[in-house]
Symmetry: C2
Subunit: 665 residues, 2 copies
């Protein structure tokens, strides 16, 4: 027993606080401007009334702000507060037995039962006098008057009326006795990111393939000429594979050939040469000035440049010479190259995170991010973060965000689910997902519903990619142009964050290196590609439209309130997204079969759409600009892959009826 | 960064450890002899192999014991350990990157791919030499020989065979390099109770009603004469309402009359008079010697006496005189009596847990339990624990169990679910439940399935009561004898802990004080009752049989593996319980309608019963001793409330077939 505190008097219990990730071990993620809704179980012994407050503050502030929590039944309470700045917030919950509230609640019942309340009124006077001690000077006199009224010996009737007066009660209630309040034992953390963390549209392109003339190595200057094209399609993040000098030792040739030909350009992920490492630019791409110009030109169009950070080195990387202790050494004196036996990647030396020199290593790796942040980059796509020690990520992301809370990190981790979730917990702002391989109705529904159910959304923000330079999925290899339309629609409407690897995507490139492989034939990872981005078969116009729909419809700018609706045909997928107030509701229907027309009935969850029972409503197909009137939950859909395998419908509740005409009245 | 530890090298993540209550804030509960199964997510970055151990100890020990955890897929690991003594245990989980395991795993793949493994064998030698440093003296030489073999320059073939030898690998594996292991940040607690906490059969009786002659105040000696009767029915806990002196001030009369007649005996829960308080015995019941004799006589029959501890005082209680500061005082100088406005309970003064003298109060209340523990009582039924401060319970139960881990506490709390759960979390061994009011198929199924789903069973042990002196449920008021048979069967087979308030129950007393009330008419709470417990209409023989079935069938001695099975008739409820190894499986079918015969088909979940697809199996009705052969999942049931509204079937998988006869062979 702690004799200094009255443990016995702290009678309120606070438990089951939500949101909370792993018992408070990790922060939840929110976006600046969000309203954070907090729930908790609070109760006390016996019948006394309790009062509950939600306490919150920015991590760097010492003072809490408070909001009143309200009971929502079954001993659960809810409160809300806005997060108005990026950075770290803290919150917790506090409750106490409120003797004044209890007194007043009971007094009303006593009066209704016509009991003698003489002594009760004296108790009320004591409570008001106690509140007066805590009150601001402007409220003190009122409380004093109130207490005095309750103490008058005559006219119990009048004093009772005074006692239950609502306005003065509010004043007393403002100054509760919190000596014995219970505060939740944990302070929970929130990472507040800028809007881009929730809503972003990515375009990945290899600058070296941006030259106009076939064969020439593209540069940042060439890439700059692509900006209007990328902008016109509606992308707001331009993601560049690593831009550093490429190693020569064990360089891979075209199509991942073990030996490179003399003119082979190598893989951008084979980082480091005599010309430098992670803080250098591959000379063939241009200068720092060129890079900064690209960043600035993009910014003028509202496009952010995202850099790829791949923490690995070729044998030619300066680190190998300057910091051999950061790599694992073999008994024969060589450095351990990357392997996944029996596969060998002799062009790559992984960093040994078990190095005794880990502090210098961590600082150096952090300085890579800082180096590019100083050159205007605020978004990093991190290559294979799951092959680097988790404690490093937790440290470096926190350090970098403390300096600049605008910085965002996308985890490129196609690995086991718990590993991906851990990366998100330790700080990654967005994450690649298994969407790339989820094609059927049940696969898609289960995957996205499971994310909802398991509450991973509290910390895990999916970024959906229908293709990447590493992955040409079989569905795209086999389905032709309709397959690309289907996957683009799904990515852009299931995920508020999505991206494509272009121009391979919009030009519907579908040839794999060989049958059964997900590698692109003549992959840009190993060679320069020149394509006519204005090819008439391009999906550009479709992408323009879909991305405009995303910009114009807030429902698609968040992953909240995603609902799947039943359909009578297993090839038809139907889902909706809605804003919190249902002022914007988007319903998407997709024919998942790239080869055949499908039709069927969708059974809408009208509540999720914010539509009352049997109302008629207009659905406006934002792709074709056609409009239909639907009614109730059952409605017919038919989608032909040849023309438009999907429809993105905006619901408009307003339907004109005869009642609007004068002669009806 | 902490420079003293290599944070970077601690690459294994440990998370989602189960069982864990409220993030480790409270212990889970187990029974001595249980195997505790622990699961956790463990993984590391990259492709390295990891090893995981489960660490456990008794709370008072400092050294951990360890068991190896095994992977069960999806980065989840499982380990088990037995809890062999009552008291507190601790456990946690540890994992590390196992470089030897990784090396050996990769070596096998390299050899299969016929790669040159010369350098790999040298790495293996280094790992073996490192293990030698950690090895026990008896294993050192073997590891040295192994390392030397791997270092030989000739005959790589032979060295490879040596390298992958399983036996020596096991030896190396016994001495892992755990410098960089990760231990789960929490030590989780387990409260290990004796068997009675899980399996107990309670009989509540008022000793003052135990006299043979009508009108005489019964004594402990009279109660002793009931022991053979209680024992014959198979009860093993004899629970007595408070046995202390009863107050005179504001004493209630028969049927809760506001004013008592001169000869009214008062309520045993109105504790305290000039003759003493919670450490005294009501003189009319006998002496301490009589009480101790009752406890000992009961013990000889395997029956434990449980006492009711009601922390509240009449105005006559010695505490009121000696410790007025433990009560709340009103401005008029009076002590606050119990109220639930507009109801007043002037005969009861509640304790004020907000008293500044709380430490003396807590110590005194603890000493009440200690007083009766010293007189042989090890089970306490606590009256209305939810009206006393939770921090007190958490403290007092821990204190008492640290002194004597055999002590058990039953929480009498018919209140809100979260309050009941909190009481279980802070230490109560068993809890009253809403079973008393759950009558229909959906009510019962949902209530028990929810307990399973929400994992409250980790800390909450239900004790099912079809009636109590406070509650004569409407179902019993209206359903006659079949209703009592139904509720007894349900309580005794749905709950491994159950109890009845007798002899009101077995004599099927069903008259309420008035219509719509759940109070008994002429309740024993306020008067002495004399009944003929050997009345021929008594359910005694049925209770004898049901309790014998409980004793003979381990499946009914635990609440684990309770499964509800579909039935075609909403009045038919069907469920099963099974031991972990399915050596004992009990299937119960109950007709919930006390008025009509019902029949229908049950669709059995054969997997839960441990029965393979289409096998025939015998079901043996342990009530009627009749046997049937059932086959597959669909089987017919018909139950008549007049004869037997339920059947308790033991499954016997062994069915004789023609193949056993000689002439078949």
């Amino acid at each position: 027993m702690n004799p200094s505190a009255n443990l016995s008097a702290h009678r309120v219990v606070v438990e089951s606080v939500q949101p909370e990730v792993d018992g408070g071990r990790f922060p939840v993620k929110r976006i600046v401007g969000d309203i954070v809704s907090v729930e908790a179980d609070l109760f006390t012994d016996g019948h006394d009334q309790i009062a509950c407050r939600l306490l919150y503050r920015r991590a760097e502030d010492s003072a809490w702000q408070e909001v009143v929590m309200s009971s929502i039944g079954n001993d659960r309470w809810r409160g809300e507060f806005p997060v108005l700045q990026t950075g770290e917030y803290r919150f917790t919950v506090e409750g106490w037995v409120d003797h004044f509230l209890t007194w007043r609640y009971d007094l009303v019942k006593r009066l209704q039962a016509r009991q003698d309340v003489g002594v009760e009124l004296l108790i009320g006077a004591q409570l008001a006098e106690s509140a007066e001690q805590r009150a601001l000077p402007e409220d003190g006199p009122r409380l004093r008057v109130y207490a005095n009224e309750l103490r008058k010996t005559d006219d119990v009737e009048h004093r009772s009326a005074v006692a239950v007066d609502g306005e003065i009660a509010l004043t007393v209630h403002r100054y509760p006795d919190r000596r014995y309040s219970t505060r939740y034992e944990k302070e929970l953390a929130i990472t507040v990111d800028r809007e881009k963390a929730r809503f972003s549209t990515w375009y990945e392109v290899f600058p070296r393939s941006c030259a106009d003339e076939p064969g020439r190595h593209g540069t940042f200057r060439d890439c700059e000429t692509w900006l209007p094209y990328i902008d016109s399609m509606g992308f707001d993040v331009l993601y560049l594979p690593p831009i550093h000098p490429i190693g020569a030792t064990y360089r891979k040739g075209k199509n991942n050939a073990v030996a490179a030909a003399p003119d082979d350009v190598g893989s951008p992920w084979a980082i480091g040469s005599e010309e430098g490492g992670h803080k250098s630019i591959h000379p063939a791409l241009g200068t720092f000035a060129d890079f900064e110009r690209l960043v600035q030109s993009a910014a003028k169009l509202g496009i952010e440049v995202a850099l790829d950070i791949a923490i690995q080195c070729t044998p030619d990387h300066p680190y190998v010479r300057d910091h051999p202790e950061w790599f694992r050494h073999r008994p024969d004196g060589t450095i351990q190259y990357a392997e996944n036996p029996p596969k060998k990647y002799q062009d790559i030396y992984p960093i040994d995170f078990e190095t005794p020199d880990w502090q210098a290593l961590w600082e150096e790796l952090k300085s890579i991010f800082e180096f590019w942040i100083d050159r205007g980059v605020k978004i990093f796509r991190v290559d294979n973060p799951h092959t680097k020690a988790f404690p490093f990520w937790e440290w470096v992301i926190l350090e970098l965000k403390q300096k600049d809370p605008e910085v965002l990190f996308l985890a490129e981790a196609f690995t086991r689910p718990k590993v991906m979730h851990r990366l998100a917990k330790v700080g990654f702002s967005q994450s690649y997902t298994y969407f790339t391989w989820r094609n059927t109705k049940s696969e898609i529904t289960e995957y996205f519903e499971e994310m909802e159910r398991s509450k991973v959304r509290e910390f895990f923000r999916p970024n959906l990619w229908p293709n990447t330079p590493d992955i040409l999925p079989e569905f795209l290899q086999m389905g032709g142009r309709p397959a690309f339309l289907i996957r683009l629609t799904l990515a852009a409407t299931l995920g508020s964050n999505y991206g494509i690897y272009g121009p391979a995507f919009e030009l519907c490139e579908s040839a794999p290196r060989n049958l059964g492989s997900e590698e692109y034939l003549d992959s840009e990872k190993y060679q320069i590609r020149n394509r006519d981005r204005e090819d008439t078969s391009s999906l550009k116009q479709f992408i323009v439209r879909v991305n405009r729909i995303r910009r114009e419809n807030p429902a698609l700018q968040s992953d909240e309130r995603l609902t799947f609706h039943e359909t009578s045909n297993p090839m038809l997928l139907c889902y909706s997204k809605a804003t919190r107030d249902h002022s914007n509701v988007i319903l998407v229907a997709v024919n998942l079969d790239s080869a055949h027309t499908h039709s069927g009935w969708v059974t809408l969850d009208l509540e999720a759409l914010g539509i009352a029972g049997n109302d008629s409503f207009q659905v406006h197909d934002l792709i074709t600009d056609s409009r239909f009137v639907w009614k109730g939950s059952k409605n017919y859909v038919e989608l032909a892959p040849g023309s438009s395998p999907s429809c993105i419908l905006r619901l408009r509740r307003r339907i004109h009826t005869e009642k609007e005409f004068d002669y009806y009245l």
